[in-house]
């Protein structure tokens, strides 16, 4: 098993009512699988929200296997300016 921290912002924070989630996952879980878990936990609140994935504060273009201690953020459309 591995432990990961999920940072929550904007609509993700709104969906869970928390700044971060700490999850224990099966070893070998990928970022894509984690996204599916998160969407399921949100019970429909993120169904229409597109999410990019940042792993340890960097955008990643493809799915990656998670490691123990990783920090993951599912980034809703950004809105700076």
């Amino acid at each position: 098993m591995i432990k990961v921290t999920i940072k929550c912002f904007s609509q993700v924070k709104y969906a869970f009512g928390k700044d971060e989630l700490n999850l224990e996952l099966e070893t070998g879980t990928s970022t894509l699988e984690l996204e599916n878990i998160i969407r399921e936990k949100a019970k429909g609140k993120l169904d229409t929200v597109s999410l990019r994935i940042a792993l340890n504060q960097k955008y990643i273009p493809i799915q990656t296997e998670l490691k123990d201690g990783d920090e993951v953020a599912f980034i809703p459309p950004v809105q700076g300016g």
Binding site: S10, A54, Y59, A73, I75, P76, V78, Q79, G80, G81
Partner: protein, 138 residues
């Protein structure tokens, strides 16, 4: 050269610079908070950042802009936290030899900022309700 600041509080503007003998253009952009978000009146926006990554992405974007458009310098300040209607949330100054590359750089920089820098807005409605803004213009 680039200079990036993410500030929690009112923005102090960069001062204009009359000592630049190679720059024919000094462009200033100030983004303000509008009184309405998706048709509803608001009292303020609250900007939220992914601390660390927002500064890293904004710095990278500034450096990319300087290289892509051959401008000389780009300075940027972005506010986080509560920003009342009418106040400045984004302040950008670009110095370049000619106006065209400066104007093109400004447009591209702000468009890219709205695509890749992890900063979000929460709308504070007149009744005090706080909801994630749905506004994400490119």
């Amino acid at each position: 050269m680039t200079k990036i600041e993410i500030v929690n509080g009112p923005i102090g503007f960069f001062s204009n610079d009359n000592s630049r003998q190679q720059d024919g253009a000094e462009l200033v952009f100030n983004g303000h908070v509008r009184a309405t978000e998706y048709g509803e009146k608001i009292t303020a926006l609250e900007y939220e950042q992914y601390e660390g990554m927002a500064k890293t992405e904004l710095t990278k974007l500034s450096e990319d802009t300087v290289k892509k458009f051959f401008i000389h310098d780009l300075f940027c300040k972005h506010r986080i936290g509560r920003v009342d209607v009418g106040e400045t949330s984004l302040h950008v100054v670009i110095w370049s030899k000619h106006r065209k590359e400066g104007l093109d750089a400004m447009t591209w920089f702000i468009s890219e900022l709205k695509k890749r820098v992890p900063i979000w807005k929460w709308a504070i409605l007149n009744d005090g309700t706080r909801i994630p803004s749905e506004c994400s213009h490119e």
